[in-house]
């Protein structure tokens, strides 16, 4: 799986899920309708998105996605066209939500992220766990091998469903 496209750099730490999608939009029954509200709670968010309307890769600061567990944050990013987020670190729940929605969470050291924020386009080979900025050197990263398979394969819920009998057997023997 190759993710290739323009980047949007938002070089701020601690962008929480309230900034990615404010709670007033958490009123739908399914995951739809989130993209138009992406970064509505981020100061200057609309202007940043407008500056790179076709961006596919978000390059941002540490602790991205902290705060609320709302999966709506991952849905908003995906529906706005993002396929990967590159940051020094992610909040746990956001990182899980990203994997469960095909949004590739890539952790790299701050200095590497800083350099990538100055680039224009990046090509990511998800299976090979490498990325390369246009005219730049290849950089390796590491994904969670199981959750990477959720992105490349059948997804989280089918995996859980495949474990149902094992879980029932475990509980019966508990």
């Amino acid at each position: 799986m190759i993710v290739s496209g323009q980047i949007l750099a938002i070089e701020r730490a601690n962008i929480d899920t309230d900034q990615i999608i404010p709670a007033r939009h958490l009123t739908r029954l399914d995951d739809s309708g989130m993209g138009e509200h992406c970064f509505e709670g981020l100061t200057g968010g609309a202007a940043l998105l407008a500056s790179r309307p076709n961006a596919k890769i978000l390059v941002t600061g540490e602790n991205f996605g902290c705060g609320s567990s709302r999966e709506h944050a991952a849905w908003a990013l995906v529906q706005r066209g993002f396929r990967a987020v590159i940051a020094p670190s992610f909040a746990r729940i956001f990182e899980e939500n990203a994997y469960n929605n095909g949004l590739v969470p890539i952790k790299l050291p701050q200095a590497v992220v800083d350099a990538l924020a100055k680039t224009d386009r990046i090509e990511i080979d998800v299976a090979a766990e490498t990325l390369r900025p246009l005219d730049g050197a290849t950089i390796a990263f590491t994904l969670d091998p199981l959750r990477k398979a959720f992105i490349l394969g059948g997804g989280y819920l089918p995996f859980l469903a495949s474990k149902l009998h094992a879980v029932r057997a475990w509980e019966a023997a508990r």
């Binding site: 705060g67 999966e71 746990r92 899980e96 939500n97 149902l164």
Partner: protein, 444 residues
């Protein structure tokens, strides 16, 4: 066997299967489901998996965030959970019997030490106060737990937070929670469970322990955790469900931890946040730090060195899953008694059961005599959804848990504090400690 932490014992007892990459399939004894984050997963199971749940008896559902519904969309969310719960025979708390899930689940006795609990809500860490491994997750992960009884989790590391001495000087569990976050950092707990130990923790009531564990997520931690003891047993015995048969696990005496931090409770004073995350806080009688980040101060319209007691408020809010239990309302009422608020003030109990108890004790009269609005239970303005949302530039002192930009309403500014500090600030119209009011009374 190696000496194990309490968390390690809970984890080991629930691992169904080890998975690649340090992951495990971890059994969930209880799934808590509310109207905001449950419908997407419930509908996905209905469409893709024949509506089959692993075990409806391991689910408890309630109307929690917006009670009653504020518009058609939130009514549809509530109705979806209502119909779904009834169809599956899931225990359900509708409006009238509602409350914030992190208040209802313990007060009714759904939780017992040794359990694992998950919910599509980040403050599920609250239940760690009962010696449970309880954590917030996304809607898809919650759906997985409802479908197959498990979560896929990376095994977290364990940070021991040893709190020595005793809380004094008017400091509360909220002030301890803010101090922990300020000490280890807003993201200092990421990838870790915070296992709280020490004399100060053992001395806390269950409601205080819940306040402390509630804010573990605000340090990025997977959850907070406190070993069950006689205090836990006494609390659970008086709940309607009165869970029995549980065994209190403790960490082994020589358990090893991935990280350790020690905090002296006796040095903690009442705190208030000045910035845009809960770790950006200082003593109420202090100043905005000189090294405070410019971005935080720009959003909050404060300057380095500014005296916090001079910062004027536009609104006060006592509520949320952090500080809206009966002891929180009692602490606020003690400050309000015989006084008047000088700014709009909202008091929102954490559950309808808390509301009824407060009314039995006459606390609602104290709040209303003081000029505060006494509401039914809801998450309310804590997350900017209803019942007291801020306008841009408005400043609110709040007993809730998040002071993120826009959290309580676009452009709104939030200062976090304990209920008594919120009450004192509501009376004086600025950041204030209850001690100031006591001094005034003595001088008068």
């Amino acid at each position: 066997m190696a000496q194990r932490s309490l968390f390690a014992k809970l984890w080991d007892a629930h691992v169904v299967e080890e998975l690649p990459g340090g992951n495990a399939l971890v059994f969930m004894d209880l799934v808590v489901a509310h109207e905001i984050t449950t419908p997407p997963g419930a509908l996905a199971i209905e469409k893709q998996f024949d509506d089959k749940l692993y075990d409806p008896k391991r689910i408890v559902a309630m109307i929690d965030h917006v009670a009653p519904a504020k518009d058609g969309a939130t009514a549809l969310q509530a109705q979806t959970v209502r119909v779904w719960a009834k169809r599956h025979g899931i225990a359900f708390h509708d409006i009238g019997d509602n409350g914030i899930c992190h208040v209802i689940v313990p007060e009714r006795g759904y939780v017992a030490p040794g359990m694992t609990v998950c919910c599509g809500d980040s403050h599920t860490c609250t239940l760690g106060a009962f010696g449970t491994f309880s954590l917030g997750i996304g809607s898809t992960a919650q759906a997985g737990a409802m479908l197959a009884g498990c979560l896929v989790l990376q095994r977290p590391k364990v940070m021991r937070v040893n709190v020595t001495g005793r809380l004094g000087n008017g400091a509360t569990a909220k002030d301890l929670a803010l101090t922990v976050i300020a000490t280890i950092g807003f993201r200092g707990g990421t990838g870790h469970v915070l296992e709280y130990t020490g004399e100060a923790i053992e001395a806390l009531t269950m409601e205080q322990r819940m306040t402390l564990c509630n804010m573990a997520i605000e340090a990025g931690a997977t959850t907070g955790l406190i070993a069950a003891d006689a205090t836990t047993a006494a609390y659970l015995a008086q709940t309607p469900l009165a869970p029995a048969g549980w065994r209190a696990e403790r960490a082994d005496p020589d358990a090893t931890y991935d990280a350790e931090v020690t905090i002296d409770a006796s040095r903690i004073r009442p705190m208030v946040s000045w910035g845009t995350n809960p770790g950006e806080c200082a003593p109420v009688d202090g100043v905005v730090p000189h090294d405070a980040p410019a971005a935080s101060l720009a959003y909050m319209d404060l300057r380095p060195g500014q005296v916090l007691a001079e910062v004027a408020m536009d609104q006060a809010f006592i509520g949320s899953c952090t500080n809206a239990r009966i002891s929180d309302l009692r602490a606020a009422a003690e400050v309000f008694r015989g006084r008047r608020v000088s700014i709009p003030t909202i008091v929102t109990p954490g559950s309808q059961a808390v509301r009824r108890q407060a009314e039995r004790e006459g606390l609602h009269d104290i709040f209303q005599d003081a000029g505060a609005l006494w509401t039914h239970s809801s998450c309310g303005p804590c997350l900017g959804m209803s019942m007291g949302v801020l306008a841009p530039g408005m400043r609110c002192i709040s007993s809730s848990n998040r002071n993120f930009p826009g959290r309580m309403g676009d452009g709104g500014r939030v200062h976090l504090a304990a209920p008594a500090v919120v009450a004192a600030s509501a009376i004086l119209g600025r950041i204030a400690s209850p001690a100031e009011l006591t001094r005034e009374a003595v001088l008068a």
